[in-house]
């Protein structure tokens, strides 16, 4: 399964939520979108799922354009952040799961039921038979998230979009859900995972895409992004991620500029907060290829790199 985003833009009533995002996703690789609130992570996920229309650019799944509100591909499924609103409270878990399994397939009810029991067992909900008869409000948040995951992977999904699936769960529950998601990779499931925590991103993903105010600012292999971030914003994000192994944190310089010249739409989105700001940052910033990574920052422009003034 191949998902392609080409220069995708999304505006909500004149506010730009996603700006010129190009991204290539392929099953077999796990990718994580990382960024703070309002960085456009969820909007991108919803556009891929066809839950939101693009304002500009194109999204294609297997070469076919995604239509907002259109029918979803069975191979592409989503797990939402809030396990409490992902189920119809009037139907049992069994009903929700069996219906999802039957949709678009030729499984009869009996077969679908067997498969549902099997799935619940796989995601660690036992006794599975008994779970089928339960209503969503009889399950805890972690259990519901497990059902969501079973529903997503059950229909043979190759690609699961998971939007902060653990952020509303308790520590011990969250770690087990993360472990389950990793476990399921053996079923050839790949993830587009969304989080603001780089440690979680590194645990789940092979590749990390860092978003800031709707733009991709850095993209590269997960390990490298976490061990050696290039973009000043990625550096900030890493610094803000709790790390018990790091010595007590020294606070880096925080800036907030309000007097930038020119047209705000053209600036680097991080210009007003960046400690490495120069005049070049008020003009459109090209994406640079740095050591196998994409970085959108003037620090890595060919001129600056050859002058060797880049920060390390």
């Amino acid at each position: 399964m191949i998902i392609d985003l080409e220069h995708v833009t999304k505006d909500f009533r004149g506010t730009r939520a996603v700006s010129d995002v190009s991204l290539h996703l392929e099953s077999g690789e796990n990718v994580c979108l990382v960024g703070e609130s309002g960085s456009g992570k969820t909007t991108i996920a919803r556009m891929i799922m066809g839950l939101e229309k693009v304002s500009g650019g194109t999204i294609t799944v297997h070469g076919k354009p995604v239509q907002g509100g259109g029918r979803l591909s069975r191979e592409l499924q989503m797990v939402f952040q809030d396990p409490f609103s992902s189920f119809n409270p009037r139907h049992t878990i069994g009903y929700a799961l069996i219906r999802a399994l039957q949709a678009g397939s030729d499984l009869d009810r009996r077969k679908a039921r067997e498969r549902a029991v099997d799935l619940l067992d796989q995601v660690g909900l036992q006794p599975a038979e008994e779970m089928l008869a339960r209503y969503p409000d009889e399950l805890s948040g972690g259990q519901r998230q497990r059902v969501s995951i079973a529903r997503a992977v059950g229909g043979g999904a190759q690609f699961v979009v998971a939007d902060e699936p653990t952020s509303m769960l308790d520590v011990s529950v969250a770690s087990r859900i993360l472990q389950l998601l990793r476990d399921l990779m053996r079923l050839n499931v790949s993830y587009l995972f969304i989080t603001h925590n780089l440690a979680v991103a590194r645990y789940i993903a092979d590749r990390i895409v860092v978003l800031y105010r709707g733009e991709i600012v850095e993209e590269g292999p997960a390990d490298e992004i976490v061990s050696d971030p290039k973009h000043p914003y990625t550096k900030l994000l890493l610094e803000c991620t709790p790390d018990p192994e790091r010595p007590k944190r020294a606070r880096t310089e925080r800036v907030a500029r309000t007097d930038l010249p020119g047209d705000p739409d053209l600036w680097c989105p991080y210009a007003d907060r960046c400690p490495y700001f120069t005049q070049e940052c008020t003009a459109p910033v090209e994406v640079q290829q740095v050591e196998g990574r994409r970085v959108r920052c003037t620090l890595y422009s060919p001129e600056r790199m050859s002058a060797d003034t880049a920060i390390r």
Partner: protein, 342 residues
């Protein structure tokens, strides 16, 4: 490593809990949410309280100031702010103490703010309830504290829904520090925020603490976060403390098996990517009474003694642990000790 602890022991206590308990009555059920805990918070100290949902940490925060409904919950033991006893105090006395000596910021900032009043007026109300300030001067005080927490004076005229999550959290903190209390208790202050906003809010709180000098009790389930911000950490399980110690010792050499599991159940920024421990089983159901160590059903270093007797919090060299693996008067079999110290 012992130096800061000894120093802390010399400073006067802001808050002392002695056999403090919080009990809920639900019909015939009795839920012991906080079970006779003992704790001292020194002046100027940041004490982190960590534990899973349902371990009683929020009950602890709310119970201190009797912020729980009196017909459903009762508190016992002793809570002292300086030399002032709060358990058994009249509601007028408690009213005096709240905000002036102790501020409790509950989980989710929206719960602390009224949606129908302007931020500035809510802070001014708190100020006027405890001082002789005129309405006008209290409003000015409100604007001043909003600036102190990094907001603009104009935000005094905003309603809570007009602010972002991070700004609302700052507004509640402004209210908490308006009267420069002795101690501020923050219950999951940053859980709903993203990592960057969380960092900025915590930096601000620590700056204010340095300026005003209040002690801080910081309650969360996020142990890595606590390790970065606290001087001392108290680990709570099933309504009691299972380990209390200086931040560095908890980070480098956690003693209680629960602390160790908790520390391991967050993905790391270093080391093996797929390395993450999980805690088996469910947290202890506080409606149950139980015998012995309440973590025993989930513990992989469990011994016979653990289900027969209750381990008490034993203090040695400035750190305390409630676990038979570390109590010398019990002689556990060697295998368990080896397994625990490995």
């Amino acid at each position: 490593m012992t130096a800061p602890v000894t120093a802390a022991l010399d400073t006067p206590a802001s808050l002392t809990l002695h056999d403090f308990s919080v009990t809920y009555h639900r019909g015939r059920h009795i839920v012991e949410a906080v079970r006779r805990v003992n704790l001292t918070v020194r002046r100027g100290e940041v004490l982190g309280v960590v534990g899973e949902s349902g371990c009683g940490k929020s009950s602890l925060a709310l119970g201190l100031l009797h912020l729980l409904p009196a017909d459903k919950a009762s508190v016992g033991g002793s809570v002292k702010i300086g030399s002032h006893e709060l358990v058994g105090a009249s509601s007028a006395e408690l009213q005096e103490v709240r905000w002036r000596d102790v501020s409790v910021v509950p989980q989710s900032a929206m719960n602390a703010l009224s949606p129908v009043l302007r931020i500035g007026d809510q802070i001014a109300d708190v100020v006027r309830a405890h001082t002789q300030e005129s309405k006008r001067s209290a409003r000015r005080t409100a604007e001043d504290v909003l600036v102190r927490v990094g907001l603009q004076p104009e935000h005094a005229r905003s309603f809570p829904h007009e602010l972002s999550g991070g700004m609302r959290q700052r507004a509640v903190i402004a209210m908490a520090i308006a009267l420069e209390p002795e101690i501020v208790i923050l219950d999951e202050p940053t859980t709903a925020l993203d990592v960057v906003t969380q960092q900025l809010v915590l930096e601000q709180i620590m700056e204010l603490r340095a300026e005003i000098g209040f002690s801080l009790v910081f309650i969360t389930h996020d142990l890595p976060l606590l390790l970065e911000w606290s001087d001392r950490i108290a680990v709570m399980y099933a309504g009691g403390f299972v380990e209390i110690g200086p931040q560095q010792q908890i980070a480098e050499n956690p003693l209680h098996p629960y602390t160790r599991k908790l520390l391991g159940s967050f993905p790391s920024l270093r080391g093996q990517r797929d390395e993450m421990a999980t805690i088996p089983g469910q947290p202890w159901d506080l409606r149950r009474r139980g015998r012995g160590c309440l973590f025993a059903p989930r513990c992989d270093a469990r011994m016979d003694v653990c289900t027969a007797e209750t381990p008490h919090l034993v203090t040695e060299d400035g750190r305390a642990v409630a676990c038979f693996l570390h109590h010398n008067n019990v002689s556990p079999d060697g295998a368990a000790i080896e397994g625990a110290t490995a």
